[in-house]
């Protein structure tokens, strides 16, 4: 029983990862949802699958483990929130970029670094007064 679920979990997570690596943005979101299913089932499985009574004290025991259930309950809700957020972000990204190809989204980190900084030079000093007024980097002030 546990081994069967371990296999199913493997299929779900594998599917999720494959979808996550797609170029289409909707498939990425669906992939995340599948990973979430897989993880929820993992929590349930590793606590030991058992078909004893549900953890309702009104019915006679022995009971199944309530702790993984509480954890999964939180995970389901958080997983839903994450899916909703990512779906909206995907929507927005599609609107801004004009296409849904994840690989073609631009990345500003690839830009070259500006290296012509001013350098401290002991042989050519500036006058010893603050220059807040004629401040070329005006941003420094408002910060």
């Amino acid at each position: 029983m546990n081994s069967l679920f371990a296999l199913i979990i493997g299929v779900l997570v594998g599917t999720g990862v494959f979808l996550l690596l797609s170029r289409s943005i909707v498939r990425v979101v669906i992939g995340l949802a599948f990973i979430a299913y897989g993880i929820n089932l993992t929590i349930l499985t590793v606590a030991g699958l058992s078909q004893a009574s549900p953890p309702l004290l009104s019915s006679p025991g022995p009971y199944v483990d309530p702790l993984p259930q509480a954890l999964i309950l939180t995970a389901i809700v958080i997983g839903f929130a994450t899916t909703a957020l990512i779906l909206t972000v995907a929507l927005r990204a599609y609107q801004v970029a004009g296409h849904d190809d994840v690989e073609a989204f631009g990345d500003n980190l690839a830009r070259t670094v500006d290296s012509d900084l001013e350098r401290a030079d002991p042989e050519h000093q500036s006058p010893d007064q603050p220059d807040w007024e004629d401040d070329t980097l005006a941003g420094g002030r408002s910060l």
Partner: protein
């Protein structure tokens, strides 16, 4: 008392930061209070060297033997009072010096924090705390040097100072750790010296200490940061770079010299290093046209002198070095203040533009003259006496050393004369550009500065004069450190006139040769520029830092500049390697599938059918519905394994998710499987298979309990403690209530985010990218091959 002296500046720094808005430039008077406890340390100093050093212990982080343990021996107290005195003078001075537009709420707190760190460093008897204060001086001096952070040069100077002194800080950390291990304790004064000297860690600890001292005290080849640190305002330079921060390395050498001095390597490395720095620093100082740069290089050279004297590890050397330490602090801080006055009154510090200043600034002239003569080592000033001691000590050491010492002193004499030349008339040739600069910046009508500016240097010059005229005063001060630095046996006395001896003859030779260099200044300057190499420590530094920056941006561009799937692939590969190793090392448990209840079979089919269906679906509606299969399948699984709450929640969430997707599909394109290249497809399939296999193995290997489960506690207590019969609900709202609250907050925040994103509507990019250099279209064009781009635009038209 000692603890108070260290912590009080930090307290006042806080007060100053808050009060600066109201008090403006008068914050300086408040700030000066921060050094009062340090100045009061002069009282116990009076009883030195006879009295036993006081020690104060405040336990702090006992786990790593980090305590605030301060110890007031003679040398530490002397240094602390010096810091307090010059700190107080610098704060007074800056009240008159700084412009009204200065950021006082930053200036004074930084200054005080620096002073406090420095006091902690000199008084600390605990090795980890010593290192901590050492690093704090690096950080606070970084803030002070970069005070005018809108200037590129100030930022560059601050970064340079920080990089170099942080490098040394790492050395000190290693040294401190090794000393603690070898010496059996982290208390400096209780180290087992015999054990340290016998330990194999002795040599590495010695080298690490040397690295720390050399970087902090700007010894060759780390001298490059000190001159560029002059980008700080002048009062800061006077405080940091004449009297205190740069002397931290000297202090380290003096204190640790008692441990390492036993080794010949210590002297063998330190004395040549110090002398080379002395000669090279004064050589460079003579080339400067800027007064502050000249003083900076002169500090480099004087630090070299101090290093070489302490490096001798002899009674004579320590005595001479401590005397010179006092003299140097007096004349160098005074000179920085004087240069500040000149800059403040004339608007420039460039030597070619300044002449005849003795007419306009008579008081400043007298102060500058006395301080400079002390620096040049002329009688009857303190500098003369300590230079005689220096010659004496180097004479005992060998002919090569005394030659370098004399050469350095000749150059010192020459640059002192160059500094004084601004007070007299001298011929000058100005190019048209220089003339334009002069007319724009240099003031024509110069007035003497107010007492706020000349009283602090006057006090220090008075001390320099006193040390010369009444050598007993300097000797008494030096002797307070005799017990802590072990030169109590040394009986020689300070005197202006020792009779005609070799040291005096060498002094006369120095003056004569120095006078020749001054007389032939133009020829000497030509000679200097002719032999100056095209590269120096600075070019090496910039080559290294540029290379580092380029390498870093290349790494970033190649690791993070990828599209999302590429980043995920990198992360998955890394996670796979680590997770795979963990799974491989752990035992797996295989349960037989044979006892499977029939009711589970449809659930498994549902779950897998959903997964396969999504992979195969080419239609977004199908995809979502098929995804729902898996969702409902897990709900069924929850039901089968006796989790009714979960099943209910999963059903609800599943329904809402499907609705959400359907809503979103109004605005999204269809689920197309954009083609991946064959290599990518294989890689992705491989990664997916590996991830799936990993999840399976992880589940299997987690099936054995490592510790007894904690769940029975909840079952037993859920009714007693929580009053509920549903253990899961009680667990969520009572036992893990804060988790559930956090969960609620997450959902709330997501709701806000979703609403604000949706409210942006179908509008495209509302603003142009803030940085004009970044054009998303251009970047996209570079990334996407042209065919694909056409395909995409056609789709969006549809």
């Amino acid at each position: 008392m000692l603890t108070l002296a260290v912590l009080f500046p930090f307290l006042i720094a806080l007060v100053c930061a808050l009060a600066a808005r109201i008090l403006g430039r008068r914050t300086g008077f408040l700030a000066a209070l921060g050094f009062v406890p340090a100045l009061l340390l002069a009282l116990p100093l009076l009883n030195m060297p006879a009295a036993a050093p006081a020690s104060e212990l405040t336990p702090w982080v006992a786990e790593i033997d980090l305590h605030l343990r301060f110890r007031g021996d003679g040398f530490s107290l002397l240094f602390a009072v010096l810091i307090g005195l010059i700190g107080t003078l610098a704060t007074w001075y800056s009240v008159s010096y700084l412009s009204a537009s200065e950021k006082f709420g930053r200036f004074y707190p930084y200054l005080l924090a620096f002073g406090g760190s420095m006091l902690g460093l000199v008084l600390s008897d605990n090795l980890p705390a010593l290192f901590m204060f050492w690093e704090m001086t690096s950080v606070t001096s970084f803030l002070l040097i970069g005070l005018w952070h809108t200037r590129g040069a100030a930022r560059d100077g601050a970064v340079k100072a920080f990089l170099i002194s942080a490098l040394g800080g790492l050395g000190l950390l290693a040294a401190v750790a090794m000393l603690g291990i070898a010496g059996g304790t982290t208390t400096l004064s209780q180290l087992d010296l015999e054990a340290v000297r016998a330990s194999p860690l002795f040599l590495p600890a010695l080298l690490c200490t040397l690295l720390a001292a050399a970087t902090k005290s700007a010894q060759l080849p780390f001298h490059l940061w000190l001159p560029t640190a002059m980008e700080a305002p002048t009062p800061i330079s006077a405080f940091l770079h004449s009297a205190t921060m740069v002397k931290a390395g000297v202090l380290l050498v003096a204190k640790f010299g008692l441990i390492f001095g036993a080794s010949a390597l210590w002297s063998g490395l330190l004395v040549p290093l110090g002398l080379a720095t002395l000669a090279w620093g004064s050589w460079l100082a003579l080339r400067q046209t800027d007064l502050k740069a000249l003083l900076a290089y002169s500090t480099v050279s004087q630090l070299g002198l101090l290093m070489s004297l302490y490096g001798l590890a002899s009674d004579e050397g320590r005595f001479a070095a401590t005397t010179h330490l006092l003299n140097h602090a007096a004349f160098k801080a005074a000179l920085f203040f004087v240069v500040g006055i000149i800059d403040h009154e004339t608007g420039t510090r460039e030597i070619p533009f300044l002449q005849n200043l003795r007419r306009h600034l008579p008081v400043t002239f007298v102060l500058a003259l006395l301080a400079t003569l002390s620096m040049a080592g002329l009688p009857p000033l303190g500098g003369f006496i300590s230079k005689e001691l220096f010659y004496e000590a180097m004479l005992h050491h060998g002919p090569a050393f005394i030659t370098v010492a004399v050469l350095g002193s000749i150059l010192t004499f020459a640059y002192c004369a160059r500094l004084l030349s601004i007070f007299f008339e001298h011929r000058r040739t100005l190019t048209p550009e220089m003339e334009a600069f002069r007319q724009q910046h240099v003031r024509e009508h110069i007035h003497e500065a107010g007492p706020g500016l000349y009283l602090p240097p006057a006090l220090l010059v008075g001390a320099a004069l006193l040390f010369g005229l009444v050598p007993g005063s300097a000797e008494w001060l030096t002797r307070t450190a005799s017990n802590s630095l072990n030169f109590g046996e040394y009986k020689e006395h300070l005197a202006l006139w020792h009779g005609v001896n070799t040291a005096l003859l060498l002094s006369v030779l120095t003056w004569l040769a120095g006078a020749v260099v001054v007389w032939r200044a133009a020829t000497f300057a030509r000679f200097q520029s002719a032999v100056t190499p095209t590269w120096n420590a600075n070019t090496v530094y910039y080559r290294l830092s540029d290379g580092l920056r380029a390498a870093a941006s290349r790494v970033v561009a190649h690791s993070q500049g990828l599209a999302l799937p590429d980043q995920l692939r990198v992360m998955l590969l890394a996670a796979g390697v680590m997770g795979g190793y963990a799974v491989w090392r752990s035992p797996q448990v295989f349960h037989s599938i044979g006892v499977l209840p029939l009711s589970l079979l449809p659930i498994g089919v549902l779950l897998i059918a959903g997964a396969l269906g999504v992979l195969l679906s080419r239609n977004r509606l199908t995809a979502v519905i098929v995804m729902g299969l898996t969702g409902f399948g897990s709900a069924a699984a929850f039901l089968a394994f006796r989790a009714p709450d979960l099943a209910l929640t999963q059903l609800l969430v599943e329904a809402v998710t499907v609705i959400l997707f359907l809503l979103a599909f109004r605005y999204l394109p269809g689920v197309r499987d954009l083609p991946r290249t064959r290599g990518r497809l294989l890689l992705d399939a491989g990664l997916a298979l590996a991830a799936g296999a990993g999840a399976t193995l992880l589940t299997l290997s987690s099936l054995r309990f490592l510790a007894p489960p904690i769940s029975p506690y909840y079952l037993v207590n859920s009714y007693k403690g929580g009053g509920g019969q549903n253990a899961v609900n009680v667990l969520l709202v009572d036992f893990r209530g804060f988790d559930t609250l956090g969960e609620g907050l997450v959902v709330g925040m997501v709701a806000l985010a979703v609403v604000s994103l949706v409210k942006l509507g179908k509008k495209g990019p509302t603003t142009t990218p803030p940085n004009p250099r970044i054009d998303p279209d251009k970047i996209n064009q570079e990334r996407v091959n042209p065919d694909r781009r056409v395909e995409v635009s056609r789709e969006t038209q549809n």
